[in-house]
């Protein structure tokens, strides 16, 4: 018999056609890969547009064994990402701290940080290249600026969420500024800071690869752009696969690692 309770307040279905939600997600991914492979294999599109999956996966594995690719592209992108991420994290937390300490700073800069991601920062990329040349520096500069703002906004949410009573506690205990930061502010804001750092990593990867893609002579992003420009379709899909797997794994690993420090989840 059909239930009289409307479906939208019924309990969530556990499975559809005997498959749970994670299983369906995996199934859809595999389905997409198989479709891509079949389309390429049976010549529904030209070889210039798409090659079978095993071809570009083998190519990706070959690339990872190729020392010149590893040294010039992979390693370069990884160092840019690592340096930008560390700079954005430390700088972002420091700026957020000063914004909480000085209300005027918060009021002067807050509205701009809110608007920051509406502005296509990549439009500035050519400017930075003209000013600083075509090396890693302009990419690191832009990527750390781009990702620091998400660290700042999340960390300031955390710092501001500190209950006012703790400030009085700090005064009663005569804590120094450093002690206040280390013992009160940082632990209280930690979950929000960690959220900011996770987003910051994902933004850093996006900014570094986009920068390399548009105007850099080296790096993973450049490898993809170059494969396209030289009609190397297998190389193009191999590069995209490496980047996709790398960013998924990095975001996933960082998220698991950072969650260990999150006392809200314990």
């Amino acid at each position: 018999m059909k239930s009289v309770v409307p479906h939208y307040i019924q309990r969530q279905r556990r499975s559809v056609l005997g498959m749970s939600a994670p299983l369906w997600s995996a199934f859809l991914v595999i389905l997409a890969i198989v479709m891509v492979d079949l389309i390429a294999r049976f010549g529904l599109v030209s070889r210039l547009e798409l090659v079978p999956v095993d071809e570009f996966v083998t190519r990706a594995i070959d690339l990872l064994a190729d020392t010149s690719f590893v040294r010039n592209d992979l390693f370069r992108s990884l160092t840019s990402i690592a340096v930008s991420f560390v700079a954005a994290s430390l700088g972002g937390i420091a700026i957020a701290y000063f914004m909480t300490q000085f209300r005027l700073l918060q009021e002067a800069l807050g509205p701009y940080f809110d608007l920051f991601y509406a502005i296509p920062l990549f439009a500035l990329y050519p400017v930075v290249v003209v000013l600083l040349g075509g090396g890693q520096l302009p990419i690191i500069l832009l990527a750390s600026t781009f990702s620091s703002v998400v660290v700042i906004t999340n960390a300031s949410v955390g710092f501001r969420a500190l209950p006012p009573i703790t400030k009085k506690l700090a005064v009663s205990l005569q804590l120094s500024r450093l002690q206040q930061f280390r013992l009160l502010l940082l632990p209280a804001a930690l979950p929000d800071i960690l959220t900011g750092l996770k987003l910051g990593m994902s933004y850093t990867i996006i900014a570094v690869l986009a920068g390399e893609f548009i105007l850099s002579p080296q790096g993973l992003g450049h490898a993809v752009a170059n494969a396209y420009k030289t009609f190397d379709t297998a190389g193009l899909y191999a590069g995209i696969t490496i980047i996709a797997v790398f960013s998924l794994l990095t975001n996933f690993a960082l998220s698991i690692f950072l969650s260990k420090f999150d006392w809200r989840r314990r």
């Binding site: 409307p6 969530q12 009021e107 002067a108 701009y112 608007l115 509406a118 296509p120 548009i214 379709t233």
Partner: protein, 271 residues
């Protein structure tokens, strides 16, 4: 009867806010304005001291923009970017909202699809652009297709999450009142997701614009991105900076309007 420390702090707080009311009303406008002026002044001063052709000041950048706007070629490129953007943005909003609402209504399918879309969202989209180029060819279709993909994903995610966040209590109320499906949508679902949808439209605006510009910077012979590349090729810094200012204005003004709308709908419908 004892008074708790929290009450004291609350009292202190009200006292302070009564005292500082006038100062507070001014500061939200004054402080950002001062920051903006400080930025422009330091830009002018450093440009003046650097005295270099590759680092023009704000006035030179504005002059560069005015010169550009006088060129018919530039106006045609601006128009091409703006028209592709408008079509693609509206399409991304429409598709994202409808798909998000449909998927969000089913908790099972939103769990299945949102995991995938969230993962996809963490991969730098820009590296997929060559695929659009290969399949759709250079020009407006691949530019528009890529910008559409950049806008539709976040809009879909925000819409689907907004629907699944509709208060269960409100849904139960609707069930007891035996509302029809249409009145359920009209009276419960739409009002409660409107603020989030406007927020999504704001986020999608920025991302669609970034997608279009990045695509144009990579492989277009038309549009604002191509204009920037040409200016870069000729190392005309004042034109580059002028165009960056124009893009900033094109991005910020609609964002401010959408933010206003978002605040208004939050006041009306609750967050």
């Amino acid at each position: 009867m004892s008074i708790t420390a929290q009450q004291i702090s609350a009292l202190n707080h009200t006292k302070k806010s009564l005292h500082g009311r006038r100062e507070r009303r001014l500061q939200p406008v004054l402080a950002p304005a001062v920051a903006a002026i400080a930025l422009v002044v330091s830009w002018s001063l450093t440009a003046y001291w650097a005295n270099s052709a590759v680092y023009p000041g704000p006035l030179a950048a504005l002059q560069g923009l005015i010169d550009d706007l006088a060129r018919p070629q530039f106006r045609a490129n601006l128009l091409s970017s703006v028209s592709i953007f408008l079509v693609v943005y509206l399409a991304a909003i429409a598709v994202g909202v409808v798909a998000g609402l449909l998927v969000g209504l089913s908790r099972f399918w939103s769990k299945v699809l949102l995991t995938l879309v969230h993962a996809l969202n963490g991969i730098p989209r820009v590296v997929f652009y060559p695929i659009f180029l290969l399949i759709l060819g250079a020009g407006a279709p691949s530019l528009g297709g890529f910008a559409f993909a950049c806008g539709v994903l976040p809009m879909f995610l925000i819409a689907a999450e907004a629907v699944s966040a509709v208060s269960a209590l409100h849904l139960k109320l609707a069930a007891s009142l035996q509302l029809s499906r249409i009145s359920l949508m009209r009276k419960i679902v739409v009002p409660s997701v409107t603020p989030a949808l406007i927020g999504g439209a704001r986020v999608a605006f920025g991302l669609t614009l970034v997608g279009l510009l990045v695509a144009e910077l990579f492989a277009a012979s038309t549009g604002l991105g191509a204009e920037i590349l040409r200016a870069v090729g000729q190392v005309k810094m004042q034109n580059i900076l002028g165009q960056v200012l124009l893009i900033g204005a094109l991005a910020v003004i609609p964002t401010l309007i959408l933010r206003r709308l978002e605040a208004r709908s939050t006041r009306r419908f609750g967050s």
